[in-house]
Symmetry: C2
Subunit: 336 residues, 2 copies
DNA sequence: TCAACGTGAGAAAACGTTTTCTCATCATTT
DNA sequence: AAATGATGAGAAAACGTTTTCTCACGTTGA
């Protein structure tokens, strides 16, 4: 047929132990009946030979590949990597490995990857992306394996996991209040993003009816611009700014410094995302909302496992809480 | 044994077509002898039934899983993601999927993942990391599958792929010269990094014996600090700065702006890494050296495939050329 | 008319496991 | 002494493919 490798199989162990393969299998799996002496002998011979069962053969038998696919169009990895990390962490204990497929918004490529995963009999597929209000360029409904959507739009009736944006906004406002801020504004991304809108709504709810929300791009430049607008007029300037992401926050902090406004003494800043490369490098380092993506990944992994093993899982959208990561940009970080 | 799935197998097709499984197999693979009429009929029946061969079964037979493992300790994904993207792109045409395993510098975790990959009969393993002069916390020598090291330290005698740091430095200096710069300095990371040293050496080679190289941290803060040092004394200030990464470059650009020094009119800046989130967001946007990590990934993928299929591959360190990505921070970007 | 040959298609083995079933042996009970 | 039961271990089937071998049948040539 084809060149055989030299890996040691259960047959080799059987031969070495002078027993049948069935006996070896039962010995190693602690099943069946046999003299405990035989069992131990076989175990030691197998260990010595470095025998490890071929997972492919077991998969074929059990119809379980102990493999899941992670499909993403987030080429940057901004959201995918923490998620992946959580998934992997949750599943490695169960002997499950993860196929990562980056599909770059290309429907044809997506289909190729999905088919390849299906052919390899993945136990399930986790779909993720870079926005919760956009779906991947491929239809995952009606697949012969379970699907979980994490941080991306999913079809109705499916399991969808996402971060609770409202919770994140509440956390931020709560903190700003706690450090004594009264005039709080929200500088965030475009209102075409559901996330931005949800946070803005929760922000208004928490701050009050006349709360100011400024929509713009998700960029540092918009942070600068927003500061120019806020400090440029003759209205009273804010003493607390909740930013829609860490890049905007970075822009805001830099712009304030250029104006001689002190952060956090004069104004408290809170970001969103906890993208460490920004949050940590900004001076002062950003206090920011963390979406707990790793935890989200862990949940996604365990959910797909439940599904794969036939346990019932409640369908629908499930929002996981955020957490606040306290650094210096908001103040109050020493009080603890 | 276990719950069977309802996937359509070759047996189902055979039954539907009223022939034997061997005939179906030969029909679909265009092998063997049979009436072309039979062949076509079987093909159409298979297509209609949506038959796709179970890759697990083929793998078992061929001793090839069409699967490779990517092992990384770069949790950030700064280097791993472009690499992964290239690997995947190169291999998807060959029906090969990629297991991604993030091992976070944990030897035990690494071993677990490697064992899991081996059990699943991966055709090869690609190791990668965050530095070319550090190795992963696991010994990959003597594995029963081929290993390729990409952007991480590998054992002697193995295949090691990395970016050509010297080439990158030469590219940068060449460009600075081309836009007319005479007093060029290099602000880079710690000299404990082989990459930093290699680039520094190539820089000196290109600029001349009295070239100034400043080692510091890989941070924006160091960029600021370096500018303070360069502009703080009474020596002539440089008119071109080659930075060791984009974060330093960002710091340098910001510090210069604060001093009223114009970029690129007065001073040309070139970064390293082409980390778009920095390079693109800096004002002016950074001209920077790109290590071609995606191409490196592609090469790594094809190499592991060669190895897996028994083709000879020359062992040793192979350095792939960099490329310069021209934006605005160096000037000369309109001349083209 | 008979041998040689070509053609179409199926049977069976193989890949490496696990599990069910069967069976031989030996000890215990009547 | 014969029947029963417990114990230890192996044979075989199964998972879904591919490939080699075999064979029946029909055609061609002498």
């Amino acid at each position: 047929m084809v060149a055989r490798s030299n890996r040691v199989t259960i047959h080799d162990v059987a031969k070495a132990a002078g027993v049948s393969v069935s006996t070896v299998s039962k010995a190693l799996n602690d099943t069946g009946r046999m003299a405990s002496e035989t069992r131990e002998k076989i175990k030691s011979i197998a260990a010595e030979a470095g025998f490890r069962p071929n997972a492919l053969a077991r998969s074929l038998l059990f119809n379980r590949s102990f493999t899941v696919g992670l499909l993403t169009n987030d080429t940057y990895g901004r959201f995918t990597l923490p998620l992946m990390s959580g998934i992997s962490e949750a599943l490695v204990d169960h002997g499950v490995s993860v196929f990562l497929c980056a599909i770059e918004d290309d429907p044809a490529l997506a289909k190729v990857h999905v088919d390849a995963m299906l052919d390899k009999q993945v136990d399930g597929i986790i779909a993720t992306g870079k926005r919760v209000d956009r779906s991947l360029p491929v239809d995952l409904a009606g697949l012969p394996v379970p699907v979980v959507y994490a941080f991306t739009e999913g079809v109705p009736g499916s399991v969808i996991l996402t971060a609770d944006d409202s919770d994140g906004a509440r956390l931020a406002v709560e903190r700003l209040r706690k450090v004594g801020r009264k005039r709080i504004v929200h500088v965030t991304g475009p209102d075409s993003f559901v996330s931005a809108v949800e946070r803005a709504d929760a922000f208004r709810q928490a701050v009050g009816p006349d709360a100011l929300v400024m929509h713009g791009a998700w960029t540092e430049a918009w942070g600068h611009e927003a500061v120019a607008m806020l400090w440029g007029g003759d209205k009273p300037t804010p003493d607390g700014i909740f930013c829609g992401n860490d890049q905007i926050a970075r822009g805001v902090v830099d712009a304030l410094r250029e104006r001689g406004v002190r952060v956090p003494e004069d104004v408290s800043i809170i970001g969103f995302d906890n993208w460490e490369i920004f949050a940590d490098q900004t001076r002062p380092a950003l206090t920011t909302v963390d979406m707990n993506l790793k935890e989200l990944g862990r949940t996604a992994g365990l959910t797909i496992l439940d599904l794969a093993e036939g346990r019932a899982v409640e369908a629908g959208l499930r929002k996981l809480p955020c957490k606040l990561v306290v650094r210096q940009s908001c103040g109050g970080d020493r009080e603890i």
